[in-house]
Symmetry: C2
Subunit: 406 residues, 2 copies
Amino acid sequence: MPIQPIPGGVTAARGFTAAGVHCGIRKNADKKDLALIAASVPCTAAAVYTQNLVKAAPLAVTLRHLQNGAARAVLVNSGNANACAPGGEEAALRSCRAAAQALGIAPEDVIVASTGVIGVPLPAGAIESALPALAAALSADGGDGAAEAIMTTDLTPKVYAVRFEVGGQTATLGGIAKGSGMIHPNMATMLSFVTTDAAISAAALQTALRESARTTYNRISVDGDTSTNDMNAVLASGLAGNPEITGPGPDYDAFLAALNAVNGYLARQIARDGEGATKLVTCRVDGARDEETAARLARSVIASSLVKTMMFGADANVGRVLCAMGYAGVPFEPAEVDIAFSSAAGRIQVCAGGLGLAFDEARAKAVLSEGEVDILCTLRGGGGRAEAFGCDLSYDYVKINGDYRS
Amino acid sequence: MPIQPIPGGVTAARGFTAAGVHCGIRKNADKKDLALIAASVPCTAAAVYTQNLVKAAPLAVTLRHLQNGAARAVLVNSGNANACAPGGEEAALRSCRAAAQALGIAPEDVIVASTGVIGVPLPAGAIESALPALAAALSADGGDGAAEAIMTTDLTPKVYAVRFEVGGQTATLGGIAKGSGMIHPNMATMLSFVTTDAAISAAALQTALRESARTTYNRISVDGDTSTNDMNAVLASGLAGNPEITGPGPDYDAFLAALNAVNGYLARQIARDGEGATKLVTCRVDGARDEETAARLARSVIASSLVKTMMFGADANVGRVLCAMGYAGVPFEPAEVDIAFSSAAGRIQVCAGGLGLAFDEARAKAVLSEGEVDILCTLRGGGGRAEAFGCDLSYDYVKINGDYRS
C-alpha cells in the first residue's frame, strides 16, 4: 500500500483529540489563540528545537519534560512568544500545570510551545482560566480548530495526514503547522505538531524526526530570520498495533517515509504562505558534490532578497540566481551551471555552462507568473541533490512587518 | 593637523583627473555610464574584490593587471556587470586597450570594473568608441562626473575627500563609490575607487586597504546579497612628497586613519542610499568577547529582514534585535544584553538583562522615525566592539527589484 493522504490532520491517528479556543492573549476575540492536543494513552515523544542562541522559555520547559521520551499532551498559544520577557519559565510551567490538571495527567507529560510577539510577559492567567473549557472541547474533529489557534500572520491553517503500512498494520500519521514570519533554515520560525498511532520507541522517533526535519523544515526560508521559538514535536500512541519500531529496518523506513510526506507537505505549505508571499518557490540543485553542498546552494538561492523580489516581479533575471549560488560558501564550478525556470506554464532554460542565454521574455514571464515556480540548477560536480522551499518578497511582506505589533 | 574633509572626491589628490560620459550601454542618453580616472604619473595600486565564487570578468583582468602593484587609470562602466556572459574577459581587455590607447599608457596599467545587469554580453564597441572623447574630457573637476557615471540604482553620487598630515607633508585622499543593491558584508555589491597623493609602497597600500575594508565596506549590508562585481581599488601617486610609507609606524597609521575616514564615510553613504532605503541604521555592539564577535552580532542585526522592516515602520520591536543576535552564530550570554535605540530625537532603552522593558511607545516611535537611527547593544562578555551599517526595508526595495531590468 502506498502512502495515502487522508483528512483529519493531528487527530487522524487513533488516540488523539484536539481543540482550539480564544483565551484572551490576542485582542481580537474572533481569533483562537490557544490549542490543545491530547492523547488517550501514554505516548512516546520527540522534538527538535530552534538553533537560535536566544530560546523562548517554553522550549526549556519542553526539553525537560521530554527527557524521558514520553508525553500525553501539547499546549500551544499564539499571540505571545513567551521569549525575552520576565517570568517566562514560570508562565510556561503554570500553563503545563493547568493543562495537566484539566486532563488528569502529570505536568511533565505536557509539551508547551508559544508563538507571537517577543519581549512581552505571557498572561498565564488567561491560559489557566481557559483550560477547563478547552479540555472539555477536545474532540476527534478538533484538529482544524487547533490548527487555527496556532496561526499568527498565517493566512491558511496547515493540516495534513497520511495512511501507510508498517509491520503488517495500517498506521496513520498527521500534523498541523504554522509559519509565516521568522522562517529560515535550522528550524525556521515555525511550530509543527505531528501525531501517529504507529508504535515506535522514543529513541527511534527522535532519530526519525531529526532526519525528517533536516530535509523538510530546515530547507525552508521565508525571510532569513531564525526564530527563538521553533519547535517540531511528535507523539506516537502505538495504537496501530505494529511491532514497535526500535531501530533501522524496513519498518523504520516506512515510518520515515510517512513522516517525510507529512513534514514535507507542511513545510511547503509554510513556504507558500510566507508573510506577503504570492507564490511558492522551490530551488532544486542536482549534480552537486554531495547533498549538503546541494542543500546549501539551494537555500542560498531561496533566501536571496534579489531572487525573491525577482520572483515577485516575474522577471527572469538569472544573474541573481548565479550570484546567490556564488556566495553560498560551498565549492562548485560556475562554468558548469545550467539553470532553468519551470512551472505549470512550461519550462525555459536561461543559463548554460554558467553563461546567460538569450530567451523569449514573454514566455519566461509566463513561466514565472504561476503560483508555484521551480528554479532548476544542474551542475556536473557529482551526485548531490537537494531541494529548498521559499516564497517571493512582496510589498505585503514590508507592510506586515513594518507594523507587526499593532 | 587633524583629518579635514575637503571637496574634490577622486580628483582632490595631486596627479588625478576624471570624467564621466554616456557611451550607450544604458538606453537613457541622459545617464552617464562610463567613468575614467587617470593619473599623470605612475602610481602604486591595490585592490580588494568580492568573495563571491562567481566573479565578473573585469575582476579577473584587474587582478592580473595589479600583480605588479602598479596602475595609472581606472575605467568603470555601469549598466552591465560583464558577469556570466559570453566573451566577458575579451570585452574587459578590449576596454582596457581602448583606455590605454587614449591615454598613451600600457593596457596592463588599467584597472577595469563593471556594474549593472548580470548575464548580458558587454558591448565593448560602445566603450571603444567613447574613449577618445572620454579621455579628452578628463579634468581636475571631473570627479563628480565619474561618480555619476558609476551609479546604478543609487539616488545620490557618493564622493568624499580628506586632507591629512603624513611624514611632515600635507597629503590628500579621496574617493567615489556606488552601492544600492546586492550589498552585503564581504565587499557588498559596491564599487569604490580612492586616489591619494601620499607616497606608499604597493605592499603597504594593499595591507592598509584590506584592513580598512574590513571595518568599513565589509560592515555594510543592504540586502544580504554579495555581488559578483565588488571592487575597491586605490591609486597612490606619491606627489605629496612624504617619505614613502613601506610598513608599520606612525606614517602608516596616519595614512590608515585617512583611508578609514574616506572609506567609512563612503560606506555609510552606501548604506544610507540602499535600494528603497528611507534611513541609515547603525548597530553598535559593545562588550562582546572580541571584535569579530561584536562584528558578527552587529551585522546579523543589520541584515535581519524583520529588523529592517521594523525600522521602516518605526516600530520598536526589540525582540527582533535579540532574535537576530541569537542566530548570528557566535557565543554570547542572552541574559546579559542591554539594548537601546538612539537618534537625533533621543535615546530610549528597551531591553535590560535580556528582558524587554516597558517603554513609552510614542517616544520610541519618535526616536525610530529619524533619518539616522542607532541600535546600541551592550554585553558584559569582554572588550570587543564593532559597528555595522545598513538601512531599512521598504516598499520601494520590492518595487525596484521586482522589475530591475526594465
